[in-house]
């Protein structure tokens, strides 16, 4: 069975469906100045399926089948890094001047939105079950247990990733796995490392950068510092994440639901929130 046959047929049927949808929602007909603030197809299953077909044909050769980058960069975390729907729409349509990211005049507006709807599912797949938990209680639990290492809205620790945008960057399942202790992916910048200096106790931290000769870390006291490897007794990459596992003994299922609900509510730095 060829991937192209049925899959592309489905994709193009969806494109056709998308076109119909587009005609109803009118993003395809909007002048570029009128780009909506939010993807009109976000979460729309038919648009996501159409976007998958378009992504593979138009984008995957550079950005990889999983969008994590091959010739071009990883684009799964573009929202987490602060890009907006209209900005990304313009990038898809008009490219990035003076780089190899081309303009795509043949990609219709609704197709660009479909691609972005699909891309969004790679960053944070849509939940399959209804939301549950109490966000207010979740915030309290977060402040007591997590904020020592994680920041939200400019408050909290810095050793772990800033979670102000985690609600748009991660699916519920992924958040749950990390809290419960999975270390399947230690993100770049957060890989644990132990440095043993020529004199003094070991230094524990997370790796911010590394080359053959040096390593740059944030230690558990949040000191950022570089170390030359040949001046250390040892530099060891730890296999255990610096993030402690919160099993059911430390965080009940109900409390977990509350924390996740709170995290899912986070959409980015909010200057209106007073610390």
């Amino acid at each position: 069975m060829k991937w192209t046959g049925p899959a592309l047929t489905v994709a193009w049927l969806c494109v056709a469906g998308g076109t119909f949808l587009a005609a109803q929602n009118s993003p395809a007909n909007l002048p570029i100045q009128g780009v909506p603030d939010k993807n009109p197809f976000e979460g729309d299953p038919a648009a996501i399926q159409a976007g998958l077909g378009l992504f593979r044909v138009r984008c995957a050769d550079c950005h990889g089948m999983d969008a994590r980058g091959v010739r071009g960069p990883d684009i799964t975390q573009v929202w987490a890094s602060g890009r907006t729907d209209p900005g990304l729409f313009r990038t898809v349509k008009f490219g990035v001047p003076n780089t190899e990211m081309p303009s795509n005049p043949r990609i219709l507006d609704h197709e660009a939105w479909q691609i972005l709807a699909y891309l969004r599912t790679l960053a944070a797949p849509a939940p399959t079950d209804p939301p549950r938990g109490n966000a207010q209680n979740g915030e309290k639990i977060f402040r007591a247990n997590c904020a020592g290492c994680h920041r939200v809205n400019a408050a909290g620790g810095r050793l772990g990733p800033d979670l102000s945008r985690v609600g748009v960057a991660r699916a519920r399942d992924a958040i749950v796995r990390r809290i419960r202790g999975s270390t399947e992916q230690m993100g770049s910048g957060y890989e644990p490392v132990t440095i043993t200096p020529a004199a003094g106790p070991p230094i524990y931290g997370v790796k911010k950068n590394e080359d053959l000769f040096s390593v740059q870390i944030m230690d558990t006291r949040e000191r950022i510092q570089g170390y030359e490897k040949d001046k250390m007794k040892a530099v060891v990459n730890d296999t255990k994440s610096a993030m402690p596992a919160f099993g059911v003994d430390r965080l009940s299922e109900s409390d977990l639901d509350d924390v996740v609900r709170y995290l899912q509510s986070l959409r980015g730095f909010d200057p209106a929130v007073r610390q």
């Binding site: 991937w3 592309l8 044909v57 050769d61 990889g64 089948m65 999983d66 091959v70 080359d211």
Partner: protein
């Protein structure tokens, strides 16, 4: 009164003119660059670097010996030049009469005072705002030079001759239409009175070619299509009309053998890159090394490394020529570390394989058979589900130049150990749009560690003499010196100097950007050996302290 002023002005003018004549006589510039100078290549006086590989054999091996394994750790920067552009260098700079000539990203180019790094002139091409189709960076790999002209290819698929003294355009010819997928990033190769270039666009459904132009006029002397047309030998290796859009670009500079009057060029991948059924057949001369008569462009021989390639393994690596004894017999060889994972030593008079051996983990072919064809292993045809193959899409090595030390008969290459999952589907050809028929993603798992290494290979046996491992795959080009130093770069931006006989690290410096596809050059300036390193958007010159 007015007449007196006029007389006085005439006298001053004449006096100045006479003074200028005297000055000219005192500081006569050296004669224009001759083809003999390029043929002679790198000289022990270190006064020039006039062609992409230093010599026509592309060995990138300098006769200079002032910088040695014992003192290389005392190198200090002399100056840094910054382009003020986006993008990055992929260039080999040229040097003559204490002036450097560099091409940069976005078809900006410079002449620089080699003593200070100060700009003498700058050229910038006005590029189309949309429609450029360079697949993998808006880059350029360097100038060619002859007489009073520099030659440069452009992202909108032109070839320019610039006035070496001013950077002004002398002539400008169109290679092909950039709007239908053609671009040019290759450093021109000047052979006698011709300048030889190729076109990129293997991901855009072009039909590749190598062109030669008269250096004086820009008139085209010959064209060699890398995909044979109807009635030509090899045409039947392309099913149907697939030859018309079969890719096979040429974007890395070849070598020249004056004795045979042959140029050797590696040819790019067939297109669509991954989809087999779109182009059944061997797809000649994609992924081949072709030997062409330098005067006529006629094909003398070819060798295809990867028949019917489905993994984007362009053979656009730099061919390196040498005469070496193999099995007790002197052989004229061309050495080629290929993107497909095999290192080859070919007889450059016939194109026959003398020796071929993997130089990285290679899963798609068992070995190269006695007929010169790879003995394929099953399960390496990309499909809708994806298949895992080593090397990955970028390959075992790529366009970054290797080097060869004839005194130790050692071939050096920056190798990559990476595997990928390849996918394929039937693409639609739309002129000027990507036409690859698939995609790939790198395999990252504990079972398949990703790393790179500088490898020293014996070209007679293919055996590894030594390796220096990097944390990640490097894309840096190489330079060796007669004193036993090899310069490289790692993937984290370190410039490295190693002992070329042992592979031990001698010195390093963090450049702040990788030497992506660039090789250092070395030359003498005021009695001191200099090493010039392009990295990111900077050029930095190094020398021992005075």
């Amino acid at each position: 009164m007015r007449a007196a002023i006029a007389r006085f002005a005439r006298v001053v003018l004449l006096a100045s003119y006479a003074g200028a004549l005297v000055l000219t006589a005192q500081q006569a510039p050296p004669p224009l660059v001759t083809s003999q100078e390029i043929l002679d290549g790198l000289k022990p006086d270190g006064s020039r670097w006039l062609t992409f590989g230093g010599n026509y054999n592309n060995q990138r091996h300098s006769p200079l010996t002032q910088i040695t394994p014992a003192n290389v750790n005392r190198l200090v920067p002399q100056w840094t030049f910054q382009t003020g552009t986006l993008g990055n260098f992929e260039t080999t700079t040229l040097l003559r009469d204490n002036v450097l000539y560099a091409t940069g990203p976005l078809n900006v180019a410079w002449a620089l005072d080699a003593r200070t790094g100060r700009q003498i002139w700058r050229y910038r091409r006005e590029l189309p705002e949309t429609g450029l189709t360079a697949c993998c960076g808006l880059v350029n790999r360097g100038f060619g030079v002859l007489g009073d002209k520099l030659f440069m290819t452009t992202l909108d698929a032109h070839l320019l001759a610039l006035d070496i003294k001013t950077g002004a355009v002398v002539w400008d010819v169109t290679l092909e239409d950039y709007k239908i997928g053609y671009a040019s990033t290759i450093a021109p190769l000047v052979v006698k009175d011709k300048v030889i270039v190729g076109v990129a666009g293997g991901e855009f459904g072009i039909r590749g070619f190598i062109d030669a132009y008269e250096t004086q006029t820009g008139k085209r002397a010959w064209r060699f299509y890398t995909i044979p047309g109807p009635g030509e030998p090899g045409h039947n290796t392309w099913a149907g009309d697939s030859w018309k859009i079969g890719g096979a670009g040429v974007w890395v500079t070849g070598a020249y053998d004056p004795e045979q009057n042959l140029v050797f060029y590696g040819i790019g991948n067939p297109g669509p890159d991954y989809h087999s059924e779109s182009r059944e057949g061997d797809n000649l001369y994609s992924d081949s090394l072709v030997a062409l008569d330098a005067d006529t462009g006629k094909l003398r021989w070819y060798y295809q490394f990867t028949p019917h390639d489905l993994h984007d393994w362009d053979a656009t690596q730099v061919p390196v020529l040498a005469d070496i004894p193999i099995g007790g017999q002197p052989r004229k060889v061309v050495m080629f570390a290929n993107r497909n994972g095999f290192y080859y030593t070919l007889d450059r008079t016939t194109g026959k394989v003398i020796m071929a051996k993997p130089f990285v983990t290679t899963t798609w072919a068992k070995e190269i058979g006695s007929d010169g064809r790879p003995m394929l292993l099953p399960g390496h045809k990309p499909d809708e589900k994806g298949e895992v193959t080593c090397p990955d899409i970028t390959g075992a090595t790529n366009f970054w130049p290797p080097a060869y030390d004839p005194s130790t008969r050692t071939f050096f290459v920056n190798a990559r150990e990476v595997c990928a999952t390849f996918y394929s589907w039937k693409p639609e050809y739309i002129p000027g749009e990507r036409f690859t028929g698939g995609a790939a993603q790198r395999v990252i798992s504990p079972d398949s560690p990703v790393y790179g290494a500088l490898r020293a290979i014996d070209p007679a046996t293919g055996n590894l003499k030594w390796e220096f491992r990097y944390l990640n795959p490097s894309t840096a080009g190489l330079l060796t010196t007669a004193s036993g130093v090899i310069f490289s770069g790692d993937s984290e931006g370190n410039l490295l100097a190693l002992d070329s006989r042992k592979g031990t690290l001698l010195w390093r410096y963090q450049l702040g950007a990788t030497m992506h596809g660039t090789s250092p050059i070395t030359y003498m300036l005021d009695g001191r050996q200099h090493v010039l390193v392009p990295a990111g958007t900077t050029l930095t010159a190094w020398a021992l302290p005075q």
